[in-house]
């Protein structure tokens, strides 16, 4: 009986959070502006960090792996940008409630509000990166028109990131070690995910590293459409499955810990 009530409250929390969209979107924009106040390029600074990484990686690994430069360059650059919207979200997701601590202590808001806020900030950053990326690709004559599948796959990735932020954010709020752990896990995942290498370059007995890695699938359903190809069906299904699993985790953690989160701050 009590559990049913808690479950209802959890779902209500997700719904109330969504209804506050005008607020979290405004706050996300405001926080992005604030973060880059008094800088010349603003959020494009973050984009240039990613693009610099992408560019260096594509020069180094493009030549190590050989093959066509016109092929490997966009593959790696788009891969790094797509990573920042998938696995690259891990450290920020872990900070969802830590960074929301100020607001949480002074204002009544649904717990999910902070996850919506987190994913909006991520989307704003991603948009800047995409603009920067396209400019670079245009200059190099490598730009392609994205496949319409992106309109379908980006929301899946956003939803997965949103749901993931809730249990991960709670966990790292309750146990402060998790935060540090997440940053090195994210770093390791970056290497273990085919961002700047291809699954086919791996020996067959190591393919499981890619196949069992949810971020590899999420990455692919963003990268392929951005390169002008349809999203691969296998990756799409795996991504959907991942999204559903983290959604269940999110609902579960909201059911059991929603009321306690504020006391963990």
């Amino acid at each position: 009986m009590n559990l049913v009530r808690s479950l209802k409250a959890a779902l209500q929390d997700l719904y109330d959070g969504a209804a506050l969209m005008p607020l979290w979107w405004r706050v996300a924009v405001e926080q992005t502006v604030t973060r880059y106040r008094r800088t010349l390029l603003g959020p494009f600074w973050l984009a240039s960090t990613t693009l610099a990484t992408a560019f260096s990686l594509s020069v180094v690994f493009g030549s190590i792996f050989g093959g066509n430069f016109r092929d490997s360059m966009p593959f790696i650059m788009i891969g790094v940008v797509a990573w920042s919207m998938t696995g690259g979200l891990l450290p920020d997701s872990a900070n969802t409630f830590v960074s929301g601590a100020g607001i949480m202590q002074v204002q009544k808001l649904p717990v999910s509000f902070h996850a919506y806020l987190q994913i909006s900030r991520a989307l704003i950053n991603f948009a800047h990166q995409v603009v920067g990326l396209w400019l670079v690709l245009l200059v190099m004559g490598l730009a392609v028109v994205p496949h319409w599948h992106l309109l379908l796959t980006l929301p899946i990735v956003l939803m997965a990131g949103f749901f993931l932020a809730i249990p991960l954010g709670m966990l790292s709020l309750r146990f402060r070690d998790i935060n540090y752990m997440v940053s090195f896990v994210a770093q390791a995942m970056f290497m273990l995910t085919p961002v700047f290498w291809r699954r086919t370059q791996m020996p067959g007995h190591l393919h499981w590293i890619v196949d069992l890695n949810p971020f590899a699938h999420l990455l692919e359903i963003i990268r392929q459409p951005m390169q002008g190809h349809p999203a691969p069906m296998g990756d799409l299904i795996a991504s959907l499955a991942f999204m559903v699993s983290v959604a269940l985790l999110a609902v579960g953690s909201l059911t059991f810990f929603r009321r306690r989160v504020v006391f963990w701050l």
Binding site: T34, G102, M104, V106, V262
Partner: protein, 248 residues
């Protein structure tokens, strides 16, 4: 809709994880925190921040919560504001709440006072147009003058209090919840603040203020609740309370 606050047997417990519950330490903490520490399990200490609080406030009530640091005033404010959900009991709050529980949390130290006013108003869901319309009033009431263009980090505690108070009282809320920082302003501003609070009641609103400034409590409130270690020790009108505390 009428504005009201009804609490029935509200109890708030929360877990303190970092404290290893040991008897001596427990006893020391008990004195320091003011909350009642209870042992449950091994490493988790449950703090009873509020215990069996019942309270009914109607339109026109200005309640002052009086008590020492750690007596549960802020916890009670947070329950009223909906930030904390009580462990037991019923909380029924009707009306739009504007809560100013912290003076600086949620404010941006780098941004100007003006920008912070906008941010505070934004968090209260005020549309941009409305913010623009009210900005002059808020700035004028705060008496910050040209300082509104300075970064918030250059403000003194009194100036922060002025800014936050000015925003909080311009929010069209039915219920205003404020923590004790109101006393950070200077005497003149406090007088003005007290007048503003009184006028808010004329618009049929409820005000709840936590303070340890007894004089302030006597000026702005018409009801007083004193608290000790999360337990209400007195609840009545300000007149009764003044009479009780000055038996002569």
């Amino acid at each position: 809709m009428t504005t009201s606050i009804d609490l029935k047997d509200v109890t708030l417990d929360y877990n303190l994880y970092s404290v290893r519950a040991q008897s001596l330490r427990n006893a020391v903490l008990n004195m320091a925190v003011g909350g009642r520490l209870m042992r449950s399990g091994k490493d988790v200490t449950v703090i009873r921040a509020l215990s069996n609080i019942s309270l009914n406030l109607r339109e026109g009530d200005r309640l002052a919560l009086v008590g020492h640091n750690g007596s549960g005033k802020t916890s009670l404010l947070k329950v009223l504001a909906g930030i904390y959900e009580p462990t037991a009991g019923v909380v029924d709050v009707r009306g739009r709440i504007s809560s100013m529980i912290s003076m600086s949390i949620g404010l941006d130290a780098e941004a100007s006072g003006l920008q912070n006013i906008r941010n505070l108003a934004m968090m209260q869901m005020m549309p941009d147009r409305e913010i623009k319309r009210r900005l002059p009033d808020i700035v004028e009431f705060s008496e910050l003058g040209a300082f509104v263009h300075m970064p918030f980090k250059t403000y003194s505690a009194g100036m922060m209090a002025r800014l936050t108070f000015s925003v909080a009282t311009q929010m069209d809320a039915d219920i205003l919840i404020m923590d004790e920082w109101i006393s950070a302003g200077d005497a003149e501003f406090q007088k003005k603040a007290a007048a503003r609070l009184t006028s808010m009641v004329d618009k049929a609103k409820i005000v709840v203020i936590a303070t340890h400034d007894l004089k302030l409590a006597a000026t702005v409130s018409n009801r007083v609740m004193t608290m000790e270690a999360g337990v209400p020790t007195f609840l009545g009108t300000t007149a009764e309370w003044v009479e009780r505390s000055n038996p002569a």
